[in-house]
């Protein structure tokens, strides 16, 4: 645990909104009134009192309010599921290296999201939508399980209105879905991609490997390719070593890495 952040700060729950049956967004503001500065792609350790801590990506940054989109998968996240507006939660962070938003400026951007992986990318897309003239062509490829598991549907409409090319594809078709059915690499394969674009990928690691492979085959410069890696983050400050990935500690050196830095590690099963 960081010496500079030995204890969680109290944050007040401002809003809770259900996204899916097992996934919801909680908005948090510092209860102590002190400013909080987060960058797209960073994460926080959220502390559910009596249950423990879990690393959760920031899914929206609005002044001093940080949104976190959470799926209930374990003891801590199920504890966080009980939060209601007005409750207090412990928060340490923001931690880690985020998306390279500043270096993206002036160029084309390709965003590839899989499932809940769209959550850490939402602050980037918010930034692009808000400051649209700073960026060239922006393409979002979002793959998810089915129509019922589509996240941030209002945002997808907003981003489309801001001239972001939104391509959604689902793994499983259903009678209420008239869009593409297939894996996310398929629209990516068919798309025209600027080789000098900056590409950001977040989702299940297998999906990221294949999406990266597709982009590289299409000629994207690997130096412009960035992935958000997930490991078992515990301290958040590079002290405990639980999230080691080869020479890196994901909580400190990531979670966003340049593809070149981690591509060898991703090919090793034991890591």
């Amino acid at each position: 645990m960081s010496l500079s952040q030995p204890h969680p700060r109290p944050f007040r729950v401002c809003a809770v909104s259900d996204q899916l049956e097992d996934t919801w967004t909680v908005e948090l503001a510092p209860a102590d009134g002190k400013r909080v500065v987060a960058a797209p792609g960073q994460f926080n350790m959220l502390y559910a009192f009596g249950a423990g801590e879990a690393p959760i990506s920031v899914s929206r940054i609005h002044a001093d309010v940080l949104a976190h989109t959470i799926r209930a998968v374990g003891r801590v996240t199920r504890g966080l599921r009980q939060l209601v507006v007005g409750d207090t939660v412990g928060l340490r962070g923001p931690f880690g290296v985020g998306w390279p938003v500043e270096t993206m400026s002036g160029g084309d951007v390709v965003v590839v999201a899989g499932g809940l992986g769209i959550a850490p990318l939402r602050p980037v897309l918010d930034t692009v939508a808000r400051e649209r003239s700073r960026f060239g062509r922006v393409q979002l490829f979002y793959g998810t399980r089915d129509r019922a598991s589509l996240l941030f549907q209002d945002d997808l409409k907003t981003w489309t209105q801001q001239n972001i090319e939104v391509n959604v594809i689902v793994d499983r078709g259903s009678p209420d879905w008239r869009g593409p059915v297939g894996f996310v690499t398929q629209p990516l394969e068919a798309a025209t991609i600027n080789r000098s674009a900056t590409a950001l990928i977040c989702g299940p690691e297998v999906m990221m490997r294949f999406a990266a492979g597709t982009l590289l085959r299409k000629g994207l410069n690997p130096e412009h390719l960035h992935l958000s890696i997930e490991r078992n983050m515990e301290c958040g400050t590079g002290q405990c070593g639980h999230c080691q990935l080869g020479p890196y500690l994901v909580c400190r050196d990531g979670p966003v890495f340049g593809y070149d830095a981690v591509s060898d590690c991703l090919a090793i099963r034991e890591l």
Partner: protein
């Protein structure tokens, strides 16, 4: 409005990108433009697979009929894609239904016509087989990825890593 010749239309389709002139002429001789309205079938499971289609615009769903569940969509084929390889596989029968989701403009290529020519035209055979193998490989990879159901919640609920 200027009308494009069939060889120009075929040459402009991603599936036949960089096709040699000689092969393009053969393929073009077996092609015709077709239009399908939403809901209209391009192919039906079990029927003779005498054609394949180059989609110029629109979306086609590949469906399989399941008793009690109706038509399940297994995949969609989009603008710029090729639809159908059953014309190359002996028995030559469609494996899935193919139905237009949106208005579809397509080039239908006569599989029987091309099959006859493949046997004595190695250049044509090489062009077609190598292009279809790439499509097959991509679709197989996509299908395998989807089999993993990787976006669903993990079975192991001991960890909070989603």
């Amino acid at each position: 409005m200027k009308t494009q010749r069939m060889d120009q239309l075929i040459g402009a389709h991603p599936f036949f990108e960089h096709l040699s002139q000689a092969v393009s002429e053969i393929v073009s001789g077996c092609g015709e433009n077709q239009v399908f309205e939403p809901g209209e079938y391009l192919a039906r499971e079990g029927q003779a697979a005498d054609h394949f289609f180059l989609l110029r615009s629109g979306r086609v769903s590949l469906e399989v009929s399941v008793p009690g569940k109706g038509a399940l969509i297994v995949e969609t084929i989009e603008t710029g894609d090729v639809l159908g390889w059953s014309w190359l596989v002996e028995r030559y029968r469609w494996v899935f239904d193919a139905r237009a989701v949106e208005p579809v403009r397509a080039i239908a290529l006569d599989g029987r016509c091309l099959r006859e020519k493949l046997g004595h035209n190695p250049a044509l055979a090489n062009e077609l087989y190598s292009r279809f193998v790439r499509v097959l490989a991509d679709r197989l990879t996509g299908a395998r990825m989807r089999l993993m159901d990787m976006y669903s919640a993990p079975d192991d609920t001991s960890s909070d890593v989603p």
